[in-house]
Symmetry: C2
Subunit: 309 residues, 2 copies
């Protein structure tokens, strides 16, 4: 088991890792952990385990805990992980948060409870507050997960404000998966001390220049080196950062033209020559043959590497 | 433990029971089961445990199992229960369905997995199919739960059709919480062999006359006797069924003018003189004092019983 380590504020490129499945559609810790290590080797500063791309909500608490334990046992440093722990049930969110923090993973990515819609900021504040207080770990760093298209429960400025006031040392950032550059810029301007992460690299450079902490993007599962080059060019103030950004934006547009998670699994299966990566847990489904063929044609046109490494 | 009993097709008035909470915001089996028994005594033909009104998705699998076990231990007949078992995670839905069926509760109410939006009917079919096949209980009766405003994952005619074709003996009905009388009438017309239950008694008589099996309504938590009278008048072909329907519709309109679940808990707490019933698990919150006062004024104007029984 990896030893506990003090979390450093998350920065840079983070990949929300895909979760591999076995024949019973249960998480396959071996393939998943190998993928996590590959992502770190490819230049990701860190990996978010069990975000939307990792089909988090499609797995039970026990299934999610087992994959995290396998990652740590395989030597993945706790400080390079961000663990998705936000569920509909307070008790599930609490169990996952306590489990991660107890294993030294102090940085968690928390969806709000997302079944009830139109709930008040007061109610969402209480949901986060109960998890933070019951976990009772001073080192905990919560990244709030704003994904209005899927959760349909937005993280408002008012909610961030009230949580920051109550838990200034704990609320660490926002993953903004709205895809909306204006909204992301507003988060950055309003909360300069938080780490703001857009959920798509298509706006990464723009947002970095406005003060974002980095990017947590699904595409990093298949395109990490190229996205990392944009980060490095920006860090170094190099002029090619714009043209490098244009390249990753072009790739992103092809990726997101189809359902994102099946698309990424399709590419990974192809590249690794491992059809196990095609599996998705229902309600997600693999790309139809024609979709997959068209995807590969379009990626090939961009010179995107589909061959085995 | 209640013995297993053959489920009979659900019909009539079903109450989706509120869940009482203890001081830690955990389900309080004692108060909850007493409420279930009261609902049956008040004329409900059955009780749905852990629907939306019961804050189902806000509790862990273990919390939900414990309440069902307590109800059966207290002598609530398994055949008068419909157990909510649909979760985002296939493994959670499966565990709850197996648990209920194993205890003799063959009738389950299943939300589709509701985190991912815009998923295909093929994916939703697979989600239901995996639960049905892995449960492997010939006596299982699945009521599909259509609640587009909250789940944001609608149950389409195409999905019902494909599930009925694959599992004709298992797909038993649809709870239609859309509130849309036209959509409900379409379900009834298209699937005459299924038990269709509108989720609001405001359209109960209309839908019964079109062929609905009954009604599963949150309001039954506080107004079961009056709703049952409409059922009885309709069954007997009595002329007062329209005026009785008008009365329960008027009450419903007042109830649903505020957030429904806090409103119902407010009324129950008042009526029972038991403030424990005011508790809700975040993200839901109790009514503000002014809201509660206005609600009581409006109900009193209707002659609605708020006094302790």
């Amino acid at each position: 088991m990896a030893s506990s380590e003090t979390a450093t504020p998350a920065k840079g490129l983070w990949a929300p890792a895909l979760t591999a499945l076995d024949e019973d559609l249960a998480p396959d810790p071996g393939r998943t952990v190998a993928h996590v290590r590959r992502l770190l080797d490819e230049g990701c500063h860190g990996v978010a385990l069990f975000g939307t791309t990792g089909e988090a909500t499609s797995f039970s608490v026990d299934e999610r805990k087992a994959v995290l334990e396998a990652a740590l046992e395989a030597g993945v440093p706790a400080g390079r992980l961000m663990v998705g722990t936000g569920c509909c049930a307070l008790t599930d969110s609490l169990e996952l948060t306590r489990h991660a923090a107890g294993l030294g993973c102090k940085r968690v990515l928390m969806l709000p409870p997302f079944y009830y819609k139109g709930v008040s900021d007061e109610g969402l504040h209480a949901a986060y507050a109960e998890v933070i207080e019951r976990t009772g770990d001073e080192a905990l760093e919560v990244v709030l997960y704003h994904f209005p298209r899927l959760s349909a429960v937005p993280i408002t400025h008012g909610l961030v404000e009230s949580l920051l006031t109550a838990y200034p040392g704990t609320i660490a950032g926002i993953k903004d998966s709205s895809g909306d550059p204006e909204g992301c810029a507003h988060f950055i301007a309003r909360f300069p001390d938080l780490g703001i992460f857009p959920g798509t690299e298509a706006i990464m450079l723009d947002m970095l220049e406005k003060g974002a902490a980095g990017c947590i993007s699904a595409s990093a599962n298949v395109n990490a080196p190229a996205i990392r080059r944009v980060w490095d060019a920006w860090q170094a103030g190099r002029e090619d950062r714009e043209s490098l950004q244009d390249e990753i934006t072009a790739t992103r547009l092809v990726l997101q033209a189809n359902p994102m998670i099946p698309t990424l699994k399709q590419i990974l299966a192809h590249r690794l020559g491992d059809s196990a990566w095609l599996r998705l847990r229902p309600p997600l489904t693999t790309l139809a043959g024609a979709q997959a063929a068209q995807l590969e044609t379009e990626l090939a046109r961009l010179g995107f590497g589909l061959a085995a490494a």
